[in-house]
């Protein structure tokens, strides 16, 4: 009788370490990566989310939780809504233009023979450059009176354009710089996509009578570039949403708040006004937008067929 219970306890006792050992090893191997992600990604996000429910201001010794106060303030904050709509306008211009121009350039460059590498380098140069430094260059290129571009416009007998001083133009001027900075990157991605299209598809199309430039573009190239286009559109959107450098260097959100964008407002709230709680709420909203875009990518990519 005494041996049975001991045996009974002893069997599971042997089984548990077996099970534990197997689980332990797997978790142990994953631990460094998990810990790293937890420390540098998840923990800061958690802190930001917590702060977004507080009235903490940088350096303050006492602070308290204010519930959804910061978010309620966001919804009623005219300048936030303004920044949101400015950002949306900027993104829509930059994404549509940089994707279309990127595709166009890729097709043109793809068709050139020996000069292809040269074109690739030329169009890629803006991507490799620092936008802050080039923002300063653009500021004077587009200067209303002494900028070379306005000199050119005046020489053609047209009215000078107040690129950065006219509230209805400034955001488009910034968008133009954004497109200039992004288009080379998109071109390279499209070029990679183009290289992946099998030659025999064009031959088959030609046999069926579709051998003109437009026929080839719309019947073979464009559909085959579907997955690339989705990817390029998503990355462009994310990049465009993060517009900050040109605003900080050139317009500082002006004139009359017409170029105030989300990230610039976030920067001002946290680093200039020290309103950490409010800035955290802004960050959370920004994070949600980013996640939504990424989610669209995941789902949209499923609907687009690869060759």
């Amino acid at each position: 009788m005494t041996s049975l219970p001991t045996c009974g306890t002893c069997r599971p006792a042997r089984a548990v370490p077996d099970k534990l050992r197997g689980v332990n090893a797997a978790y142990l191997f994953a631990l460094p990566a998990v810990a790293l992600i937890a420390i540098v990604v998840l923990a800061p996000i958690a802190v930001v989310i917590l702060l977004s429910f507080s009235n903490y201001s940088l350096g303050a010794t006492d602070w308290s939780l204010v519930g959804i106060g910061n978010y309620a303030q966001l919804v009623h904050d005219r300048s936030f809504l303004n920044a949101l709509s400015n950002t949306a306008l900027y993104v829509s211009v930059v994404v549509s233009m940089s994707v279309l121009l990127g595709l166009l350039l890729a097709i043109l460059v793809h068709g050139t023979g020996r000069l292809r590498r040269l074109y690739e380098v030329i169009f890629f140069l803006p991507v490799a450059s620092t936008l802050v430094a080039l923002g300063l260059v653009w500021k004077f290129m587009l200067h209303s009176r002494i900028g070379p571009i306005n000199e050119l416009i005046a020489a053609l007998g047209l009215q000078r354009i107040d690129f950065f001083n006219n509230p209805s133009i400034a955001i488009f001027a910034l968008a133009a710089i954004g497109v200039w900075h992004l288009v080379g990157f998109n071109m390279i991605l499209f070029l990679a996509g183009l290289t992946g299209i099998p030659r025999d598809l064009y031959q088959a199309a030609a046999i069926d009578g579709a051998d003109g430039f437009w026929d080839r573009l719309f019947r073979v190239t464009w559909p085959m570039l579907g997955p690339t286009t989705i990817f390029v559109t998503i990355t462009s959107t994310i990049t465009a949403f993060q517009v900050f450098d040109t605003v900080a260097v050139i317009t500082h959100g002006g004139p009359a708040g017409s170029t105030d964008v989300i990230l610039y407002q976030l920067y001002q709230a946290s680093f200039q006004y020290f309103e950490t709680g409010y800035a955290s709420a802004l960050t959370v909203v920004f994070l949600i937008i980013m996640m939504a875009i990424s989610a669209v990518q995941i789902f949209a990519a499923r609907g687009v067929h690869y060759s």
């Binding site: 500021k139 209303s144 002494i146 005046a154 002006g254 009359a256 708040g257 680093f271 020290f274």
Partner: protein
């Protein structure tokens, strides 16, 4: 003979020991932060080099410069929380009260009174004007020593003026005269602008406009917003007139300077601290004349720009070294380098003597314009609790709409005052 040799060897050894001991003596390194990177080459670095030559045991190390006074102030505010503030910091004129109220309770800023006392009252009187010292004194503490001082002045393109039939010897003095002159310059030259004052970035010039009409931004105790009065309305109306009648481009100081230096702007309103930069940028393309800031009222004032040298380190050794450096910076010799490298006004009385700047000023009257405005210079106003940037952001948006005519000066001013009151109360 042998004795002599032994003696010589001993002497040599002692000397060698002494020599090697010298570098072992603690070398003090001072970390310094200033705003406006362009001034590093023009005077900060030359001053540090000259100082280190005289004080081989003190090393001056510059941290990355702040883009402007606000950025510098905010950087120090962040560093104060982690105890990484620089040893010496150049604080913007309107930000010293905030800097002191932030750092003094944390014991992170040094009162300079004991150092001044040590030098003796006679020495202080010989070097610093009491009014200049007063600018850096709050509640009996001397938190800062004025290093750079400036007032806004007017830069005229004499060639464009002559073309418009204006006499560069007879400069406009009031806002009305400025607007008339600017209109004439624009009419006489098809591809230039008449006049520009920076209302796009930073509130110094907007304050100057209000002060020039005899107004103030807030009551002396910083509790009540006061620029909604008649003086503020006149300033706001002038903003509208500058855009409507003169067609003033709404650009910041850098862009305005570039346009002026390119010969495409008749009158540029800027800091006196930019004369050196402007001279270099113009490079003799046209003749530059400077004049006083336009006035709107007899009792008009002007806000003093520039910065204070403050000592933030709490280490007694470093404090001593920092005081030596600050003393040198504000000495006549230090001020000479500073003034010639920028155009700022000297903050040391002795610097006006002939052997320092006296002769130079006599030969270059354009550099002296700002000095003639000293009598009407007052402190550059800082809004309570470092709200200046936020206040200005709201103000600048309304000012733009006043300028473009979207809102009348009366309504715009009301809107500005309301937003300022709301922000200051937060």
């Amino acid at each position: 003979m042998r004795q002599t040799l032994a003696f010589l060897m001993a002497a040599g050894l002692t000397a060698a020991a002494a020599f090697s001991a010298a570098p072992a003596r603690a070398e003090t390194t001072l970390e310094v932060v200033h705003a406006y990177g362009a001034f590093r080459e023009r005077f900060y670095q030359p001053l540090a080099d000259a100082f280190m030559k005289d004080h081989p045991d003190i090393k001056i190390k510059f941290r990355a410069p702040a883009t402007d006074y606000y950025e510098g102030h905010l950087a120090v505010a962040r560093e104060a929380m982690t105890g990484q503030t620089p040893d010496i910091f150049f604080a913007g004129m309107n930000l010293l009260p905030d800097l002191a109220s932030m750092l003094a309770p944390r014991n992170q800023i040094t009162d300079l009174n004991p150092f001044l006392d040590q030098e003796g009252q006679a020495w202080v009187d010989k070097n610093y004007d009491i009014n200049v010292l007063e600018l850096g004194r709050i509640d009996g503490h001397q938190w800062g020593l004025p290093f750079n001082a400036s007032t806004p002045i007017a830069y005229f393109n004499a060639d464009l003026m002559k073309k418009a039939g204006l006499d560069p010897q007879q400069l406009p003095k009031t806002w009305d005269e400025f607007i008339e002159a600017a209109k004439k310059i624009k009419q006489a030259n098809s591809d230039v602008d008449g006049m520009q004052i920076n209302l796009a970035l930073g509130d110094w010039f907007w304050q100057a406009m209000v002060y020039s009409y005899g107004g103030t931004m807030m009551s002396p105790d910083r509790t009540k917003v006061t620029y909604g009065d008649d003086a503020g309305l006149k300033a706001a109306t002038t903003v509208r007139r500058l855009v409507e009648e003169v067609g003033m481009p709404w650009i910041d100081e850098d862009a305005g300077m570039a346009q002026f230096a390119a010969g495409k702007l008749g009158i540029f309103i800027g800091s006196t601290g930019d004369i050196r930069t402007m001279d270099d940028a113009i490079g003799g393309k046209f003749k530059l004349v400077t004049g006083t800031f336009p006035m709107g009222a007899k009792d008009g004032h002007l806000p003093t720009g520039g910065n204070f040298a403050t000592i933030l380190t709490q280490d007694p050794e470093k404090q001593k070294a920092a005081w030596e450096f600050v003393k040198f910076l504000t000495s006549p010799a230090g001020q000479k380098v500073t003034v010639l490298g920028s155009g700022y006004m000297p903050t040391n009385k002795q610097a006006l003597k002939n052997e320092y700047l006296g002769e130079f000023y006599a030969k270059n009257p354009d550099w002296k314009t700002s000095l003639t405005q000293w009598p009407i210079a007052v402190a550059y106003f800082g809004y309570p609790n470092v709200k200046s940037i936020k206040v200005w952001k709201a103000q600048s948006e309304v000012l733009f709409r006043i300028g473009s005519g979207d809102v009348s000066p009366v309504d715009g001013l009301k809107e500005m005052v309301q937003s300022t009151e709301a922000i200051v109360k937060e």
